[in-house]
């Protein structure tokens, strides 16, 4: 299943947030969306995932999702969005409970995703006992549990410290290499974008329009820290964005 965005535009009251977005999200690829803060990246992702209805344009699902997909469009949020009163296991079973799985199937799914994210030892832990990195791995495990056709990731690593982020980028690359998934990955971190994106969509500052789409051919597994080609891409992206970012940062927030 692919996704197609057709001339998406959205406003909150008088505030024009995104405008005229046309984008294809092909199967098995990671699309990164970067842009200055407040340019409507999160809004765009919510529109794609059906959490909000676009005022203009359409988000189309092309083809049908795989039959075994429980929740075709699945989010991974920046703030993890774990229920603090449920254990790691309980947080994963939460998203399976409404879909009529038997206890055994559920158990199998949980064990599988916990193993894939190296969390098997922390099954009974409460979120408050986990470090940020572990929490986000639980959120990723939960997303994997519903076998998504497309993962919608809203700055999944930006609440983490940079060392943990480094570790999780490796995890994501490993996951993708083992079994490629489709993802829309919103970030404001250009390093993350060049490490994870098959193509990188640069948005202008608000109202967000597509400034440029950069494709990177290098296989994900080869994109190591300090790779020169990636550095060049990152530098180029920064040049595109610098002014927009500066302007966005200097804006007064009115209530």
């Amino acid at each position: 299943m692919d996704l197609q965005l057709k001339n998406i535009g959205h406003q909150y009251g008088d505030l024009d947030v995104v405008r005229g977005i046309d984008l294809d999200i092909p199967r098995g690829k990671i699309i990164c969306i970067v842009g200055p803060s407040g340019c409507g990246k999160s809004t765009l992702l919510r529109l794609i995932g059906g959490l909000e209805r676009p005022i203009e344009g359409q988000v189309l699902q092309v083809g049908t999702p795989p039959a075994d997909s429980i929740n075709p469009l699945t989010f991974v949020f920046q703030d993890f969005a774990l229920l603090p009163w449920r254990t790691v296991e309980g947080n994963i079973s939460l998203v399976l409970e409404d879909h009529g799985l038997s206890g055994k199937e559920m158990e199998a799914v949980i064990s599988d995703v916990l193993a894939r994210t190296n969390l098997s030892d922390f099954r009974k832990a409460l979120p408050k006992q986990l470090s940020g990195g572990m929490k986000q791995r639980v959120a990723i495990a939960r997303a994997l549990a519903v076998r998504p056709a497309v993962m919608l990731m809203d700055e999944p690593l930006s609440a983490l410290d940079s060392q943990t982020r480094e570790l999780l980028i490796d995890d994501l690359v490993t996951l993708w290499t083992r079994e490629p998934f489709t993802a829309v990955y919103v970030t404001h971190n250009l390093n993350e974008a060049v490490r994870l994106g098959h193509s990188i969509v640069v948005l202008s500052r608000r109202p967000g329009e597509i400034r440029e789409i950069v494709n990177i051919e290098l296989p994900l597994a080869d994109r190591t820290l300090g790779n020169h080609q990636l550095e060049e891409h990152q530098k180029r992206l920064w040049q595109i964005m610098r002014e927009e970012a500066l302007a966005a940062d200097q804006e007064l927030i009115d209530d």
């Binding site: 197609q4 909000e52 209805r53 988000v59 189309l60 092309v62 083809g63 049908t64 209530d255």
Partner: protein, 267 residues
């Protein structure tokens, strides 16, 4: 344009909801609807005159009270008692609350005492208030002050506890004096909590007006209600209750206004 082989559909919408907003007009409508229903019920005798008064009679009684000038005679002493009593209770309460919030010794000594006197019903102590504070205005002020004191203390020291410690560490790191930290960081930081505590204390103060005016009060909304109750005069009873209710709504609106002024820095 699109590949004919593949089925296309719009992505399902599944967000929205869970953001209830209040709407003044509907609220007013419901009030009016209830009043009309009671009016019809009492007039047709479906609701007996023992159970509820006829709303229009209540209104007429209110107009009469107002015309006769007695409304002010009752309202002025009550409001004076509210203001003086609450002023004492709230100011002492805030002071004690801040001391409890700042000093371990005070907290250890007073917090349990406060917790123990909170559930004591003030009306149970009425006979003692007579001895302690007399039957004139003193005991009325004292009762209201006592009733507002405990919730104010609890709210205040909770608010002080909730002041962001990192702001205090910041103050220390710039070598601000202890007094500066308390005045410029702790107090303004505790203000939102203190104000929302005030909402509760002042509601309690209004409730206690009736108890306070049990003691030798000739005029006052509480005395008016008590007399109406003892004469089983439902019209006047409901006029009194409605006045207290309006008083409560007014006080709450006043706090809203203060908050919007004083706390406009809140996100």
């Amino acid at each position: 344009m699109t590949e004919p082989a593949e089925r296309q559909k719009l992505v399902d919408f599944r967000g929205g909801g869970f953001v209830p907003r209040s709407n003044r007009w509907i609220g007013l409508l419901i009030f009016v609807a209830i009043l009309i229903a009671v009016e019809i019920g009492t007039r047709t005798g479906f609701i007996t005159s023992l159970t509820l008064p006829i709303p229009s009679d209540v209104f007429a009684t209110f107009v009469e009270l107002w015309r006769s000038g007695l409304l002010w005679k009752h309202l002025v002493p009550s409001i004076t008692r509210l203001i003086v009593g609450a002023l004492f209770g709230v100011s002492i309460g805030i002071t004690v609350g801040i001391l409890i919030g700042l000093f371990s010794i005070v907290r250890a000594g007073l917090a349990p005492v406060i917790a123990a006197i909170f559930p004591i019903p003030k009306i149970a102590l009425l006979p003692l208030f007579v001895i302690w504070f007399g039957i004139d205005e003193g005991s009325k002020y004292a009762l209201i002050a006592f009733g507002t004191f405990t919730p104010t203390v609890v709210a205040t020291y909770g608010a002080v506890d909730n002041v962001d410690r990192s702001l205090i560490r910041m103050g220390q790191s710039f070598s601000l004096t202890w007094l500066s930290i308390v005045r410029k960081i702790v107090l303004p930081g505790a203000m939102p909590g203190i104000l929302s505590g005030l909402r509760i204390s002042l509601a309690i103060a209004i409730i206690l007006l009736v108890a306070a005016e049990m003691l030798g009060a000739e005029y006052g909304i509480g005395a008016y209600i008590l007399e109406a109750g003892s004469l089983y005069d439902l019209e006047r009873l409901f006029v009194g209750v409605a006045i207290l209710s309006i008083l409560g709504v007014t006080v709450s609106a006043a706090i809203n206004w203060v908050e919007s002024r004083l706390l406009n820095w809140r996100v």
